[in-house]
């Protein structure tokens, strides 16, 4: 009983922390992009205000499926948080969490897809079909990387992979397998939907894609979902390639570094068309990942 209460409390803490940190990261990204474009930029706490405002607005629903899709998207990412070690915070650790996390992230995407079906807006359908196509693109090189890491360290839990890099920072996969870390970085940018891989959002082209019909609370919910997704993906990268961390502060710091780099890279490139994006993923990152996998196996 005590154990259960402890777990629930722990879980709530992780959820709130991840949401708050994700929103802060989004604010930092807006500031960085503004500075790169020689603007002053909105304050760092702007995303918090946006969320507060959105939850205060009226919202129109498009039926049960629409509501359910938004809840499923948010629930999917919160469930994923269970299995990601954030520094020393870790609820469940077992073999296979790496693959589980990939599948649970797909649940969130499918929730978005259900929401778009509920809204019935053609631009939303275009957006979500692009998002799923892009997933097809980046998941292939990412899985090749994951399997070669699993093969190398003979464990498929994120915690185990993190522990395997303990000791000196030279043991980090970033330095042990730099090519692989580079590929994973490109995949990370694709996962987070940053430029140049933001064809599924494309505000000026398809009216922000999957969220085109969401206003008020629904948009707020999807904003929270996005902030948690950012944290999950960054945490995955930090755990797999930067050796994790033994406390939450240095872990957040590592995530921040990766996030700033990803934002800076993202703000330099124009948008890939969706088929070009997938072609790119299947050409360079996949090729390099396979070479690295062969190197590890042999």
């Amino acid at each position: 009983m005590i154990d259960l209460i402890y777990k629930i409390g722990h879980f709530l803490l992780i959820t709130v922390f991840a949401t708050a940190l994700g929103l802060l990261f989004m604010g930092i990204a807006r500031k960085i992009i503004a500075r790169i474009q020689k603007r002053y930029g909105p304050p760092v706490y702007q995303p918090y205000l946006d969320v507060l405002k959105l939850f205060g607005k009226d919202a129109i629903t498009h039926g049960f499926i629409f509501d359910f899709g938004a809840v499923m998207a948010l629930g999917g990412v919160i469930a994923t948080l269970f299995f990601i070690p954030l520094g020393s915070w870790q609820l469940y650790s077992m073999e296979g969490t790496v693959l589980l996390v990939i599948y649970l992230l797909a649940v969130a995407s499918l929730g978005m897809a259900m929401g778009t079906v509920g809204s019935g807006n053609p631009q939303a359908s275009i957006g979500i079909s692009r998002a799923l196509t892009q997933m097809l693109g980046y998941e292939l090189p990412f899985l090749v990387i994951l399997f070669s890491l699993i093969f190398r360290y003979q464990t498929s839990s994120i915690w185990g992979l993190m522990q395997a890099q303990a000791g000196s920072f030279l043991n980090w996969n970033l330095f042990a397998y730099p090519m692989m870390a580079l590929v994973a970085f490109v995949v990370l940018i694709g996962m987070m939907g940053k430029k140049p891989f933001d064809a599924m959002i494309a505000p000026s082209e398809i009216g922000s894609g999957p969220v085109v019909e969401s206003g008020g609370k629904y948009l707020g919910m999807l904003l929270l979902q996005k902030s948690i997704t950012i944290i999950i993906e960054l945490a995955l990268y930090v755990n797999l390639f930067l050796g994790g961390a033994d406390n939450i502060f240095s872990f957040s710091f590592k995530m921040l570094i990766v996030w700033i780099l990803a934002t800076m890279f993202g703000s330099l490139f124009p948008r890939f068309r969706i088929e070009d994006g997938v072609k790119f993923f299947w050409k360079w990152p996949l090729g390099i990942a396979i070479l690295q996998a062969l190197y590890i196996i042999i």
């Binding site: 503004a34 603007r39 919202a59 000026s204 969220v211």
Partner: protein, 177 residues
Amino acid sequence: MNNNFVKGSWQEILDWAQNKSINMLHYCTGCGAIELPPTMTSRYDMSRFGIGPAATPRQADLLLVTGYLSTKTLRRLIYTYEQMQAPKFVVGFGSCTINGGMYWDSYNTIKQLDKYLPVEMYIAGCMPRPEAILDGLLKLKKMINNGEADGYQRYQDNLEFYHQNQEAVLGEVQRTQ
């Protein structure tokens, strides 16, 4: 501690958040659209006040009508406005929305925007410069913060007046309600 006090303070908090975060939908029918890029980009940078563009009417708080409106575009503007989620605000932009501007004797251009939609404020000029736009939007922020920007409530209260005016120039207007 009565209920009204709590409700009032919560509304004040929401007004404050709303004034700090405005997503605007610029309805670019006229020449005023060209004044917006410099207002948004590095020269004048309106995002430092928390004002940014919105992609669709559902996500927008502010409808910026940038220039003349022919009766055909007025119909689309009304549909756009009705798709937005309250609280929502309308700002008329340039003299065309105020009294027809240089299109004052055109047979197909409306003369006063506030007869068809509840306008919070006008930004005068032909066209207003980015400084004027920023000044206007800052005033709008103040109005929102003080709870004076109540256009969407006026629209609900005087629905018949607005509908009559709309139908007088447009003929039939589709309504979802």
